[in-house]
Symmetry: C2
Subunit: 519 residues, 2 copies
Amino acid sequence: MYITQSLRRAVQMGAERIATRCGSRVKTWGEFEQRVASFAGALQSLSVQSDDRVAILALNSDRYLETYFAIPWTDAVVVPINVRLAPPEIIYTLNDSGTKVLIIDDAFAAMLPAFEGQLDTVEHIIFAGDHEAPAGTLNYELLIEEADPIEDEGRGGQEIAGLFYTGGTTGRSKGVMLSHNNIISNAANVVASMGYTDSTSYLHAAPMFHLADGASTFAVTIVGGTHCFIPKFTPTDFLTSVSNFKVTHGLLVPTMINMLINEPTLSDYDLSSLSRLLYGASPMPEAVLLQAMKTFPNCRFLQGYGMTETSPLITFLSDEYHVTTGDKTGKLASAGRAGITVEVMIADENDNEVPRHTVGEVLTRGPHVMLGYWKMPELSETTLRRGWMHTGDMAYMDDEGFIYIVDRNKDMIISGGENVYSTEVETALYAHPAVKECAVIGIPHEQWGEQVHAVVVLQADQKTSEGDLISHCKSLIAGYKCPRSISFREEPLPLSGAGKILKTELRKPFWKDKNKQVS
Amino acid sequence: MYITQSLRRAVQMGAERIATRCGSRVKTWGEFEQRVASFAGALQSLSVQSDDRVAILALNSDRYLETYFAIPWTDAVVVPINVRLAPPEIIYTLNDSGTKVLIIDDAFAAMLPAFEGQLDTVEHIIFAGDHEAPAGTLNYELLIEEADPIEDEGRGGQEIAGLFYTGGTTGRSKGVMLSHNNIISNAANVVASMGYTDSTSYLHAAPMFHLADGASTFAVTIVGGTHCFIPKFTPTDFLTSVSNFKVTHGLLVPTMINMLINEPTLSDYDLSSLSRLLYGASPMPEAVLLQAMKTFPNCRFLQGYGMTETSPLITFLSDEYHVTTGDKTGKLASAGRAGITVEVMIADENDNEVPRHTVGEVLTRGPHVMLGYWKMPELSETTLRRGWMHTGDMAYMDDEGFIYIVDRNKDMIISGGENVYSTEVETALYAHPAVKECAVIGIPHEQWGEQVHAVVVLQADQKTSEGDLISHCKSLIAGYKCPRSISFREEPLPLSGAGKILKTELRKPFWKDKNKQVS
């Protein structure tokens, strides 16, 4: 299986049909394929060779989608960059991946000076924005205009399609190597679950670098649907686009849904085209979901659960279980059941399946499981030991195969749909001279689901403030990863017998009245 | 991907849910899995080892389905035998495949004496019928009762799942090697196209050895649906089972649909549960299809086109195109569009794509394409040359990616240098109200090489003449394509085990003394 097959299938179904709607730009599938073949030719003329990495740092657009196909077309590997990262983190990602060509847009042109002299392997920067190309960059549209289109190089199967960086528990982010088989097997499962067809109009509203949205990128293409784009999510941009583009399907993270149902102008928009919304990437508070189902009575909801390492989807909670009456009630708190070709097992620490209703780690295997982590063979081996992907998430399964996530045991905080690994934040905090001990935890937040909170013990002779520490973090890591609140304590942090900080104890007072299970 | 994953997924979705309904026998998915694990254990105790072949020669039943899972479970290869073969052909298949264990049922017990001393590699014969096990055979139920269930051996991926023998044009039948990836990628495409869910009840009415029915065997399992069985197709058995088992889905070959719409007792049955019928395996005359759509107004029809070598499905004509009004009309003569992960190209003899609306050979590639032919490396290499499966079928593609099969390449008549595609002639004949069944073949002609000849079975209450029918054809298609001669027969046309009209049989008397190869 290979990514470019999905594009060729879309073209075969009608070269004159609409591929993309981005602002006022509209392209047919025939035009889209031509542009992909030309941009692939341009990359080749920039001496991009087999297995070279090409990174994209951009907001959502039709051009972003084109690069997702042009890069494999020219036998290279795509590296989509998290748009929320701070410059040092982006530099780390580009260097770690050994990126040869970087594609940016208007939103990131201002970062170019910060990259000066820092990029070890980047030979060219391509500007795919709408304004004039900054000095030292190549113009994307001009490249397409001048390049000779090339034949598809036929990259596929178990070859690496992309490096998808995900926050690391060690403070170092990891490049997840996904193959073409990984990505297309996910697409086939998504088509079956979402009911995508050639009359689907999908809105890319969540960031395209992330696989929550990426789950549908190839699925919508493979059925010959239409892609619509907004640069980034805002409630009114979303609503305007649904109305203007007659959008039928979309993916939103729970915080976006929460913002939508609280949007005062909601009733001004014609949302009658919207038939299905997929949500995922972080826990969905049931109250928000119920409110959303009321607010969008003609739209059916589906939940997806997964992670970058699983391309991304492991389980689906299908629309028929999003009900409050009838024999399919009672599953709203669940993350659903295994995708069509996915195997899921809830296991103990020896990888033995535990009885139903017993909490264990979520293991999964099948064609959706990553090849491994880029240049991290030991971690890859550990994570994929005994043939199973060890997700680190804790869950139980009911008698009908529905799983219920109770905790992310890798100690990750999910705030506004973004993964924040506490270790990374702790590393930043520890870099401050006044910090003696610290632990970063997620505490409840109405809008974001979880908020990043730090518990800090100061050095005896030092003083600092909450504001100072947060500013300090902001100089080191992305804003969304920084603590929103800090509590100081005198006594040392509680430790387990093995000397690990007992975050369970720290979380307890905050989650006392919530139904979140803590591990 | 592996076959037993589909079974485990079904069990995970509810061990108490109904897996099989066969006559008065009902088994849950939990029981089914237990029986599979036990029969796998029994096979192991009969020293079936990795890669050994286990053949099944039986009519449809729940036990047949069990063997489809137990054989991979014990790391062996399944060899489903065509139930219509004569004993010498069966012996050839068993010897060619090197089968170690043969499973038979009541319908084939009478053949055992003919096998005596003829089977080179078979060590055990297991009797999976309802009567007493014949002398020299092992009792299937007793084996399950006495065996220790074993753990799944985990066979999967590119390993051979089965040898599916298909009629050879050279008179020698070929064992098509299909991998687990082949079969499960087909299943994922079928789920997406057929809309199978956990509330599907599928009736195995076409023979289970053949992949037309087999296309749904793993697809229905993977969604946790229910399998229903009739030993073999008869119109009244089919109708009774649909009514009794509340069947929702089925696969029928065109000749079966033709028999159903001509069944006088049809209106006696409650067919309200039937929501979708897939048809395929041979060309569907449009007149028959239109009549079927009238006869089953609440049932949606889908067409599948493919072959054993492609696991089997290449294209689907979805239900929304089975209409006679609206903007989706005009596709009924088409075999549909490529399956989700399937690539199709219409090509000239150098494998270059031909323009749309131009006839060429159907080539296909993707995860559904066979590993090759068993012990026929040269033929495998030729058939799979340049990365494409060469189907031998001739078709053209329209602007929307729908393909129209004009000929199964060994079924073309060359008359006076003109290619006559028999399907087209048969479609014209079926449009005549007096025609119940027909087959068009080439017979020897001194001047033209071949002459177009039709064999026709008339409706019981209708009369017509050779001259009338030829005139009728001339009103619809070019003169050179029309039959020059017609023979009428009383008895139904001869059918293969898969329900295809056996043109070989019809041709034989005409070509007796000629050296033309017959397919």
